[in-house]
Amino acid sequence: MKIPPIALTRLRSVLGDENVLTDEASLLLHAYDCSLSRTRPDALANILREEDVSPVLQILSEYKSPFVPRAAATNHAGACAPLHGGVILNLTSLNKILQINTHEGFAVVQPGVITADLQNALRKLGFFYAPDPASERVCTLGGNLAQNASGARCMKYGGTLDHVLEADAVLPGGEKIHFSRSAAGPDFIGLLAGSEGTLGVITRLKVKILPLVKHVKTFLVTFPSLADSVQTVTDLTACGIIPRCVEAMDQTTLQTVEEFSHAGYPTDAQALLILELDGSPAQIARDAVRLEEICIRNHAQQFIPAKTEAERQKLWLGRRAAYAAIARIAPNVMVGDGTVPRAQLPLALKKVKQLLEEKNIRASLLFHAGDGNFHPHFIFDERNKPDVLRVKRALKEVLQICVDCGGTISGEHGVGVEKRAEMAYQYDKPTLDLFTHIKRAADPLNLANPLKIIPVNYDEKARTAEPLTPEEEELAQQIRARREANLPAGTAEQNKRPNTRAPEMFSTKELNQILDIDLTNYTATAQAGVTLDELHSALKEKNVFCALPAGESTLGGAFSSGGCSYFYAHVLGIKALLPDGSAVRYGGKLMKNAAGYNLTRLFAGAQGTLGIVTELTFKIFASKPDIPKTKTSPARSNALWCAIKKELDPEQLFPALPEEIHD
């Protein structure tokens, strides 16, 4: 027993005797989630009230006992396996919907609320919550944020992190903290998204709700090749049509699914897309005509629109039954999760299929074509050790393929322990170091869900860092030089607060290249010193747009200063220099990335306090996007920001945090 008896006694005094369990059976039944990981905890604590979380964490912190927050435990990454033992915090009883405000468009919920329960409550009021993970009938909203879950509607509406407005959390030491999107400063909700309980326990959420979409039109289209189906999605994006769902299957999956569900899918097609449009009837009708044209142009074999609701349900029948169709084949199914830039999807899938054939592994491929996110479903028997090893090895190779194609090892399932080692495929040492610093800042005693996300002993295994551009290298050297001289540093462009400027500021104006405008993925990559006017004119030449206003300020400034918070959701990748002069990279041309802490959100609005942004990759659009008028309150530092700042910049050479300024 790792947890001292006195700690258990104190926990019982807070939660009640019946809610702190240490019997063998209870512990073994909280040792797993939907992955293959299984580790026995030392105790189980049923949390019945939000206000109990803080005292419980204080007690655990006092006795240095690790803990793992757990709700429905439906994740595929082993995020709920207590690797260091410790206490499982069962949050399923925190399942109350506290408020639904249709006037202002939000709902306040506890973390254990089942996603479908919220949807059902909202449906009665004519509203809906956009993220729709496939497991929505069982997964919880707290779990969704912790894993940054998303679903079929992600292409149009985004994942969980884009729909949480406010969050209450308790840091591992027991300190309560409130995060709000309306406050300037780093997007800590974004950082919490996908943190898998390693930074603390989420205790309350305020989520965005939207008026129910009344008109939906669904289409089933078949193609002679995967490349044609992906090109169709690209062409749709190019003409400004964003379907609310773009689900896809390859032929093998198609045949398996049809055999099981008899949904009427044509089994001779190499690829199948299910596309769904929503909006006003006129807009749908307009888009449907263009959709058909695009599909035909891309060699569509069959184009089947659903004329009635019954037909629509029939089109979805096979896709919804896909997991069941695969699950009936063998004792166990391991669901993989990888994402690549959309244009790379055909290549990645081809490589994955080759690999599966070489290894003689049975697997089906389902994918969200709009996001470049695919899920190989490996069929195996977990009682057969060699079989498990073979499948695990194959999954590693699949993830390596994703990374080689410029993708990520997780689009929506998270890292947990199952893909922890593969994080080294994707990230270089400085970036993994930054993840470690973030974790250490929030959880200095390493108690919150320890040993997750960050690979162990990654120094040698980490991916080789890509060389910096000469301008970035020069900037990095300047930072290192000032650090050695113990002089304040920072950039004028990314920190607009004059009284925090160092006497000699760096400039990112040399970083003025627009590196890439990709009309297949619909992304642009530019250095931080590019002015918004320059960016707009370059994009205009290609007839595309971004979600930023015009002006003379720089791209890095617009991103870091906190004035354009709506832009954060459009940023897909970032490169930044830290106060120690090291360069970190996160994301890229990926529509989804659930691997590691979300660094784009950490640097967004950080006002240069944590580092200097040197490069951004962001979404671009075929038509001018609406730029919302957002009202943000002044940035105020919080415990997490302070802790991260202290960890990254102990000498406080970069600009100070807001409340440390004495105007």
Binding site: D23, A25, L29, C34, A72, A116, R328, P331, N332, D381
Partner: protein, 429 residues
């Protein structure tokens, strides 16, 4: 592993007939991928909100026990609590992609732990039906006579029924109708006699035989339109033994049914209880490994008919039920057998928009005497059903078993008197 935990083969099933084919018990348990899709459909999980009392937790516990990773004797109290919390409703199997028969796993665990689920006296009484049907009949009738004489009421007032493990009498007293006619008398009154050259065998359920003779009469009336029906009075189907008792006795009962049916011309077998129906549909798995009897049991299962096969939507004027109506899906092991689809179709045809679809989180009345296993949990689940009925203001709930109708009416009487439950066979009035 203790000797007690290793039952002889005849005390456990050799294989399970799952919706995805025949599997050994261990194979079946190992098919669970722990995806958790079953959690929210489980009535006891919704109530308890703990993994331990969820279908996934139950399957994992069972698997750990089979693999010898969880000592069943050392953990018996919690394992029994896990068993007690499962109503065997099969909603988890319905949701499960791999169609894991969790209810069957729990029955296997019961057998391995040799757990007595029912109060001892009730168990002894119900066991008598298979062993000595005549004495069982006499005992039940004597009990009903004493009840009619007011002795149960006196016993309850003086709290005597709480003594000697007879607390279940209070519940039974609340459950059963005040006035109960003997089935033989009811049959005679309606001129039902044994026909020559019958074309169908009717096996009345326990409740139809002793407590709800009108259910038996309605079933007979419905079936008589197409068949000459022979009634097998007071005949055990083996279901009670399968769920609560000894597997050997259950096999014996089914074997008797098979022999008698073959002797009487291998006629189709009609039942009024969905629980008996789902059990006999699974009868072949009782004989897994014995090809001869497995084949016979398969033929029995194939020749099983349910009352819904003889029902049609009644003419509008004859329907005596206030609308809207809904269907209670209370059943053992599954909600996916044909009678549910048939009942749904009939009710939808007749009541059209007045048929209320059940929501996936709506609970059903706990099936087959679960109330006698865990009254408090059964009551909580039953109240969820009542709440769902009240929310949709549904005055009529149809069930596919008489026992479920009794359970529901008991709750309605107290918590929502506007509603009544009735067996679907009474649709004709």
């Amino acid at each position: 592993m203790t000797k007690k935990f290793l039952p002889t083969p005849h005390e456990t099933l050799r294989a399970l007939h799952t919706p995805l084919g025949e599997r050994t018990v261990y194979d079946s348990a190992a098919h669970c991928t722990r995806c958790g899709s079953c959690q929210q459909t489980c009535p006891s999980y919704i109530f308890k909100r703990q993994e331990t009392f969820s279908p996934r937790g139950r399957n994992q516990a069972f698997r750990l026990v089979l693999e010898g990773k969880l000592n069943p004797q050392a953990n018996k109290p919690l394992l029994e609590e896990i068993l007690f919390s499962c109503t065997l409703c099969g909603r988890c199997t319905q949701t499960c992609a791999g169609k894991i028969p969790t209810a069957e796993h729990m029955l296997e665990l019961r057998r391995r732990l040799q757990t007595k689920m029912l109060p001892g006296t009730l168990h002894a009484l119900l066991s008598l039906r298979q062993k000595s049907p005549v004495w069982f009949g006499h005992t039940v009738r004597l009990g009903l006579l004493l009840r009619r004489a007011g002795l149960v009421k006196i016993g309850r007032t003086l709290k005597l029924t709480d003594l000697f493990g007879l607390g279940w009498i209070n519940r039974a007293d609340e459950l059963l109708p005040r006035k109960i006619t003997r089935l033989s008398r009811a049959l005679a009154q309606h001129g039902c006699t044994a026909p020559e050259k019958p074309t169908l065998i009717y096996l009345p359920s326990l409740e139809a035989e002793f407590f709800l003779p009108e259910l038996a009469l309605s079933t007979l009336k419905a079936a008589s339109k197409k068949h000459r029906v022979s009634v097998w009075r007071n005949t055990a189907s083996g279901l009670f033994e399968y769920v609560y008792g000894d597997l050997r006795q259950s096999r014996l009962a089914v074997r008797r049914l098979i022999i008698r049916r073959e002797r009487e011309g291998s006629l189709p077998l009609l039942t009024d209880s969905i629980d008996v129906f789902t059990f006999l549909k699974r009868a072949p798995q009782l004989f897994a490994g014995n090809k001869h009897w497995e084949e016979k049991a398969r033929r029995l299962a194939e020749n099983l008919v349910f009352v819904t096969d003889f029902l049609s939507a009644p003419a509008k004027k004859t329907a005596p039920f206030p609308t809207p109506v809904r269907l209670d899906y209370s059943a053992l092991f599954t909600r996916e057998e044909a009678p549910f689809a048939a009942a749904e179709k009939i009710l939808k045809t007749h009541f059209k928009k007045n048929f209320v679809e059940c929501f996936y989180t709506d609970a059903d009345t706990p099936a087959f005497g679960y109330g006698f296993v865990r009254n408090n949990l059964a009551r909580a689940m039953g109240l969820q059903t009542v709440r769902a009925v009240a929310q949709t203001q549904t005055p009529t709930v149809f069930t596919l078993s008489g026992l479920a109708a009794l359970e529901l009416n008991r709750l309605f009487k107290r918590f929502y008197p506007n509603a009544k439950a009735a067996h679907v066979v009474n649709l004709h009035g």
